[in-house]
Each structure stands twice: as C-alpha cells, then as structure tokens.
Amino acid sequence: MVRDDGRASSRRALLTGTGTALAGGALALAGCGSVDTGKKAVKKTSAPVRRQDIEILTHALDLERRTVAAYIACIPLLTHPQRKAFRQFLNEELEHTGELVSLIKAAGGKAPPRADSYPIGHATDGPSALAVLHSLEALQISSYLEWIPRLSPAPVRAAVASILTVDAQHLTMVRVTQGQDPVPGPFVTGSV
C-alpha cells in the first residue's frame, strides 16, 4: 500500500508534473502489484514447490513478527523525533507481515498465529534499543538473501525482494540514527 507524505508528494509532483518523466512507463515506487503477481504465480506451481514456498514464507513471517515486536518494545525508549520515524518503520514492517500472509494463503497454506512472545533482547535505553533494531533488520536481510533464491516461481522472489529492499532502507536509517556509516558497502548482505 502506498503511504503518501511530503516526500512522496514531491516525488510524484516531480515525476508526473514535468511531463518528461516516465513516458510510457509505470510508476511503481510501491504498491501491492508485486504481491498480486506473486500470488497469481504461486497458485500455478506444483504442490511440492508450494510446500517449500510455504515453509520459507512462514519462517519469514515469524521473523517479521519478531521485528514488529521489537519495534513496539523499543520505540518508547527513543527520543521524540526518532519515535515518529520509527513508528513509520513499524507500520512498514506490519505491512510486510500482511504481504507474507497473503503469499502464504495464495500458496495454499495457512499463516500460523502470532507467538505469545518473541526473543527481542533486553533494551533499556535508546542506544540499546537501536542496537536491537539494527541486529533484527540485519538478520532479516541476511535471511531473505538466503531464502529468496529458494522461492519459486520468479515473481514470488521479486515480491519478497521488494520487502528485503525496504528492510535495507530501514537498516540504513537505523545506522544514520546511531551515527554510523549509513551505507557501508556496495552489496547489502545484512552482516553489518
């Protein structure tokens, strides 16, 4: 789903207002198109492929839910300006859980219920909260990089990659907030 805000509006104004941008192309900065395509695609795969996809997507959902739990626990420990941004990141993580549930259903599976609790460490202040979020965003990235090549067919991989991409942006913003190099290398690995 698209959340519109100042930057989004200005992007859109720039990209559509000049009449030169996007000629003949489709603006797809965000949206549910990839998941819709992925859902259609996964329905047409064989049962063994769907079973493997369901298994992987269920692991991904569990990790996204763990990250959501961490954001909920950590946001109160952040400064007021940080809270505003991180609440938005929380919403985006929630969106990821919704997309994964949709993909699981499309593959013929059933998303498991949320756990009563998730291992999210013991943050006690802003810096430790940021460290927890940093480690979980990095874990999501490294996990998705391992899982995506095992998903099938290709549109499902692309749909999940659109989630990985946002997690990489979250990690960058966490690093900015921590005063670290926001983009430490040319290849995102989730190792830092």
Partner: protein
C-alpha cells in the same frame, strides 16, 4: 524505457497465462508471449541491460560529484556511492563475461548520457542542472529506475547466484535512494523511506 520487449506488466498481466505459466513454457512459447514477436531476454541480455543502466548511473554520479553543484553535506553523503556503482558494474561484468557476453559501452559524453536519460524518461539533464535540488532529484529518479530494472530482472532470473547478486545490488540502490531522499530539504528519516514495498520505477 526500452520497448523492444514486453514490459513486466504486459508479461505478467496478460491474464490466465500469468507469470508462473510463463516460466514453465518452452522457449518458443515464451517468445510467442512477446508483444513484438522478438525473442525473450536471456540472462546475458538482462545483464547487459543492467550494466548499461549502472554505467549511466555511474556517469551521472561522476558528473554531479565532479561539479560544485551539491552542498558539502550532500556531497559528503553521496561521495561513496560512485564507488558502489563501479563495484556493481564490475560484479555484473564478471557474470556477463562468464556467460560469454560482450560488455556494453557506457555513455562517453554528457550529450550521450542525456540521450539515455531521456530514453529512460528521467527528468533533468546533465549540464543544465540549476542547483543541488535538481541534481538530487535526477539521481533519485535514476536510482528508482535502476531499482525497477532489478525488480523486473528478479521476476525473470533463475540462476540462484544472479538472483542473490541482483537482490544485494537492488537493496543497495534502495539505500542510496533513501540517503538521497534524506539529503533533500526538510527531509527526515521517515520521509526518506516512505513506502513499505519498493519496486522502483518501471
């Protein structure tokens, strides 16, 4: 945008055949899904397409960073990205050469780069940028076009090594996108990452 091949939407939105069916079809049948009747892209074609885009991005970063158009803060933020783009080109070229493909040339002049930008529907032209904001928006849009190209590539690639590489680079371009966004006036970390799903501009 190149229209020599069907778009993702044309391929995937063509109804019941859908993307899954497309992947399961033999080559001749896949070719038949092309709206132009041309053969589908191979992995070599896809790599060449991505390299052309990366070379354009690299040229634009070099041009902008080599001028004095950016403020010191934005310049400092974007300076490492030129090296990242070069690393992407190198990695993709290694994969292309391993498959026997010829490395495409990048833009050799501002005029050529501007022609490529126009071809891809990117607003703004090198040499005509009026200030930091213009330069940032040009790079932002081109990053999003590049992310879109990787998204489309990921909906077609089947080699697991290439899939991982495409994911790693696409995510890195999205990080660049976020940092360019954060360099815009009145931007915040929240406004720099405004979407829950990112597929770029296609």
């Amino acid at each position: 945008m190149s229209r020599g091949v069907p778009t993702r939407r044309e391929l995937l939105g063509a109804g019941a055949a859908g993307a899954a069916g497309l992947l399961a079809l033999p080559a001749a049948a896949v070719a038949a899904t092309s709206t132009t009747g041309q053969p589908p892209f191979s992995e070599t074609d896809r790599l060449q397409r991505l390299i052309r885009l990366e070379l354009l991005l690299l040229y634009c970063y070099r041009h902008v960073l080599g001028s004095s158009i950016l403020g010191p803060r934005a310049h400092r933020t974007l300076a490492p990205f030129e090296g990242h783009e070069q690393a992407h080109v190198d990695a993709l070229e290694t994969q292309l050469k391993a498959r026997g493909g010829a490395v495409p040339p990048g833009p050799d002049s501002v005029k050529t780069a501007n022609r490529y930008l126009a071809h891809r529907g990117v607003g703004g032209r090198l040499g005509q940028l009026k200030g930091s904001r213009d330069a940032l928006y040009l790079l932002l849009t081109l990053e999003q076009v590049t992310i879109g190209a990787y998204f489309v590539a990921l909906s077609k690639l089947n080699d697991s090594h290439l899939i991982t590489l495409a994911c790693q680079i696409m995510a890195n371009e999205a990080q660049h996108d976020a940092m360019i966004g954060l360099s815009l006036p009145k931007s915040t970390p929240g406004s720099a990452v405004p979407y829950g799903l990112v597929q770029g501009i296609q």
